[in-house]
Every structure is written in C-alpha cells, then in structure tokens.
Assembly symmetry: C2
Amino acid sequence: MASTIEGNTRPIRLADIAKAAGVSHGTASNVFSRPEIVREEVRERVKAAAEAMGYAGPDPKGRLLRAGKVNAIGVATTEPLSYFFEDPFARAMMAGISEACDATGAGIALVSAGNQEKLAWNIQSALVDGFILFCIEGGSRLVELTRERKLPFVALELGFDDDTVSAIGVDNVAGARLAAQHLAELGHRRFAVLALPFADGSTGLVSPEKVRTALYTGTRDRLVGYFEAFSRYGVDTAGIPVYETVNDEASTRAGLETIFASAAPPTAILAMSDRIAMVAIEWLTARGIAVPGDVSVIGFDGVPDAALCDPPLTTVAQPIAEIGRRAARTILDFDGTVRRETLGVELVVRGSSGPPPKTA
Amino acid sequence: MASTIEGNTRPIRLADIAKAAGVSHGTASNVFSRPEIVREEVRERVKAAAEAMGYAGPDPKGRLLRAGKVNAIGVATTEPLSYFFEDPFARAMMAGISEACDATGAGIALVSAGNQEKLAWNIQSALVDGFILFCIEGGSRLVELTRERKLPFVALELGFDDDTVSAIGVDNVAGARLAAQHLAELGHRRFAVLALPFADGSTGLVSPEKVRTALYTGTRDRLVGYFEAFSRYGVDTAGIPVYETVNDEASTRAGLETIFASAAPPTAILAMSDRIAMVAIEWLTARGIAVPGDVSVIGFDGVPDAALCDPPLTTVAQPIAEIGRRAARTILDFDGTVRRETLGVELVVRGSSGPPPKTA
DNA sequence: CGTTAAGCTTGGATCGATTCAAAAATACTC
DNA sequence: GAGTATTTTTGAATCGATCCAAGCTTAACG
C-alpha cells in the first residue's frame, strides 16, 4: 500500500530490502532468483522485509540489463497496429507465432507506427530479442531498418532475393502453377491476373519490364508460375492483362474495372491473394456476373475466411500457421546462421471455380 | 558487418565509440539523444566512429534502466496468446487499443501463458508501463497477480466490485434490460438465459444463491437487467432457466440441450455474449428449429461477426473499440488515480429476433 | 582440537546507457 | 586585454538488478 504513496519517496529497490534485512544485496538477490541456495532463516527474514516494505520483487528493468535477454520477440510491419487484429492472413500467421511463443513462455511485442520516422524509432527502441518482419508494402525499408538493429530477424511472405536475410516463405512458382493449371484443366483460355505489388507504391497494368525488375520476387514468382502453366496449355500469355494492386479493395476494384472494360473479358481471374479474390467475387456478383458460372476466381493464401465466403473460394493454401511457428522458432532458437525455408502449398478446390460458360 | 562476427568480441558499447572518437561518453550520448547540443564537428566525428565500428545506436536495454519508461503497454489474459487474434471480441478491443497506441507511438506487449505459474512469471517480468487486463475466466487471479506488480492497470469487461482497481466497462444492467424489453415487446413470454460465468470454473443451471454471490458482477448485472425488464412485463422470472456457460461452444451446447429438454421450451433465448448467441443459432438451425420463426435469439457484445451470421444477430452492442481506446489512454495518461468508467450500450435489432410463433 | 569439506554470505564488478553540475573553451563587449 | 556571457564538454553519479571469486561459518571426523 504505502510503497509509492508516502510523499515522494523513490521506489523501493532490492538494496533497500537487503539493508532492512541486514544482509548484502547479493544475498537479497539470491532470495528472489535462486532461493534454494539461501539458508531458510535468512530467506524468511528477507522475504518478511520485502513484504513489510511493499517490495514487489526484482524490477525486470534492472534484471534485463544484466541478463541481456528480453524473452520477447517483436513482430513488425509498416501497416498500422490494427492490421494484426484485422487482416485474416496476419491473424492466421500470428496464431502460429503465438503458439510457438506460448510453448516457450516468450512474449510478443507488436511494433508498428503511424509514420515512417516513428517506425524507425520504434524498431530502434523495441525491447525484443529479435524480429519477425511482415513484409507487405515497404518491405525492403523494413528490412533495412531492422538490419540496423543488429538483432536476429526473419522476413515473412515476400521473398527478397537477398540471401543474407533469413526468410520463410512458400514455393510461389509451384503454387501459382497449381492455380493456373486447375483453371486451364477446367477449360478456361481467357485469363486475367490481379497481382500483388511488384514494387513500392504503384498500381495499374503491368509491363513485362516491370515484371523483370520486380522488387518483390514473391509477386514475380507467382506470375512466373501462372505463365509457366499457361504455356504448357498453349495459352498465349502475352494477351493476359496483369493488373498490379496494393492488396486492398480500392485498387482491386480499379483493376476489375480495367479488366472488364475489354471487348473479350476473361472467364477466369487469378488473384494473388484471397483478399483480392474475395473483393473480386463481391464485385462480380454485384455486377450480376455469376461466379463460377460466368467467371471463375481463384485466390492465393488459404485464409480461414476464404472457406466462408459465397461461393467458397478456390485457392492455393499456404501453411500460414506453420510459417508463423517456424518464424518464431527461428528467432527463439537463433544460432547465428541465415535460415531460408520454403514450404509447400496446396490447391484447395471450392466453389468459386468451374468450367467456363459454354457461350464463351 | 564486422560488429559481431569477429571472434568473441563483446558488442560495441557507447563508451567504445566515445573512446574511439576521443570524447567523453557523456558527449557521445548527447550525439544520439540530443544531437543539437553538440558542436557539428564533434557530432560528425562521433557518428563517423560509430559507423566505422558498426555501432547501431544506443542499446534500448541501457536506456530503459535510466529512463524508467518502456513506452509499451501490456495486454494480459489468462487465455492463450492466440486468443488475441482469434476471438472477435478481443480483436475488436485490440483494434481500439492499437489505435490509441499508434497515436502516441506506444508499443503493445501481449502477455499470457500456457500455465498459471508461467503467467505469474510473465506478468512479473513483462517490460511494460502498465497493464490492460482481459478478465475472462480467472479474472480475479489476474488482478491479484497484476496488483503485485505495482504498475498502473485497468480491468476490462467484468466489473469487479473492488473500487480500488481501475476498470472500464459498460452499463450491463441497462443493456440487459434493453435486450429483455425488446423480446418482451415482440410478445415473448417464455425465456431462457445462457449466461457467462458467475464464478470460476462452474457450469450448469444456476440457483438464486449463486447469482447473489456471483464473483463476476458483470454477469450478475446482466441477469438483473433481464429480470428487471421481465418483471415490468409481468413475466414470472422464477421459471426462467439460467444456464451458466464458460462462453464456449461445448458448454453452450450443453446448456441448450438442458433447456430444450423441457416440456415447455422457451421461445426466446437471451445470450450474454454474441459468441454464445451464434453457437445457439447454429445449434437451433441444425435441429430444424427456425430462428427467429420458432425461437428468437439475442446476443450481447456487438462483435462485427454478429452482423454476418445467418440470420444476422440481434444484439446489445458495446462500444468495444472505444473501451479499448479508453483503456489504453488510462494507462498512457496514468495520473495515479483510480478511474472507473461505464459506457453506454445500444440495442441493434437484426434478423435473429422476431415475434414468437402463433402456436406457442 | 585441528583439519577438511560443504554450505552461506559478502561486496565489488558489471550490464549500457543518461543526466547534470561544474569545468573548459569560445565568443563578445568595452 | 580583462571581464563577462555563452556554448561545449567532461566525468562522476545513477538507474536496479545479477554474478562470482573469495571469505566466512558450520558440521563432521579422526
């Protein structure tokens, strides 16, 4: 009760307890951190003194400096903090991370910020043992910022071709191939791609140059996978519109407007995320275009929500939680080496894909 | 590059670069924390030395000890960490908390643990300036644990009658009254209540004694609200079954089994959470009982998902995000006083409630 | 009773920074 | 050029603990 209330007395330190109990601070410390090596009588005396003075136990701030380990991992993104609780992909990932952290008793610190400057500061000053980076937009900046900190970190999602950074991702080429193949086998021949960002801050129809110089290799790889499969089915990939979105509703809708303004609109849409795919389904349905009757839609990610939308989304499922678990483990068991893992993906066929309309 | 790689050299400290640059560590510190007060030439020299030695900037661990402020708030619960990303109520709350934290640049540390012992330790050792407590099950334990820590904290959701702890919640009596009144006005006269926990670790039909001695006053208040409204409409409250759940699927289903085993089953169900209500709708629908045709269901909370289920849930909406924002502000602007806030709620009528069947 | 082993305690060193009063350097005034 | 004002820099003190080598007790044994 009295610990902080009586005037401006500064908070009680371990040293104060030691003095009150008539032991050295070393012994007092032992009472709390290794009670078994302190004689019972002394231990009781110290504990009684602590109780009497309202001492809550060693302050983690002090302990931290000595121990050097925070026992928490930071999860950083350039999106606002609420992203972690609202975006389905992020949530599934966080569930995996949480699991690994729970298992070892580690905590999670969420790092983000309204503006770039604050983000830099927050990354500089986060009390964590390492970082997991959600590389959405501005991913490369995030990596640079974090590298500065000289703590272990692992990048998620977008593969940076930089082999010096640990990263965990999926086989984007294979996944995309699966998606395209599925549609081609259903009989589709006219496609459109709603892509994730190739580079920071642009949207719109994408030129082959842009693809070659893509900053985000994950996006490029998915496109490569789509095109590989198409080639095998004799589809002319040159005619396929590829529209770059920023994985949000507005840019996706803009992409759809553009794509369906064409004289020969596609009968199948390849979306590089479930988010995009679900917006597409909504947009199409609202226009009276039947899914999958008139147009099939296939996503990428395999977020839980995809199973619940109407029609349920056919998609390429990543082992999202597993990625999260591995990312957390990479930080928790950090051994100084760069670790790059690529996990497999799985085609999940649901209701949003079917044969093309006969009339087409 | 070389900072950590060359053998076992211990990491570079601020003092090292001070020596290298030929200035005192005081000056070196100023270069980073108050660059404007050091002469440009010196500043450049120190920065160059830092760069050359691969010094990433002052270690937050050291800074922390001196500054005393972590600039992060802890959010604690007895549930596993994944709760924060999966439960709709928690997510909506976290979104509000995130917003307030983003605005001031504060971080969020999630605190939880697999078992009770670890939880105690994690709360003891979390590096935070204060706690927001998600008081679900075991709420009182969580409060005790946190009180030990002697940091500011605020309890969410369940009102503890303990006036010494800050808490933010809603007017449960008024909200419950709204719910019951709505059903009564639709013409219902036979009700059942699916309640939240009254005390730790029990489920089943609830006796009046139990209600009187309820540990969770929030649960009790909602019941009081229901009954108040019923009395006003001349409904005999003695005959209303009140089944205590632990806000999960299993206990809710068990409650429904019990309730509908009756000879005169209710025509309306009052659920104390949207979670319970949604499970109820699913259970009823699966039994071929029409909602709201045969039985009306009303929830409590107003989570976003409630608008999306089929039929959309009629419920009493709490200003969840606002509660989160205020809780965060309470910690961030802590002034040493106990703050207890009660916010208003709102009846949201959707598709799950309607007049009772004619035949009943 | 002296010796040895084992168990406890001690207090200085350390973790990595920030702060602030005082000293030093520089600039300015007459 | 002395005197004063101003800007910079210094270095000791501090934040709150943990660690560990060395010293001290105590118990046991011959």
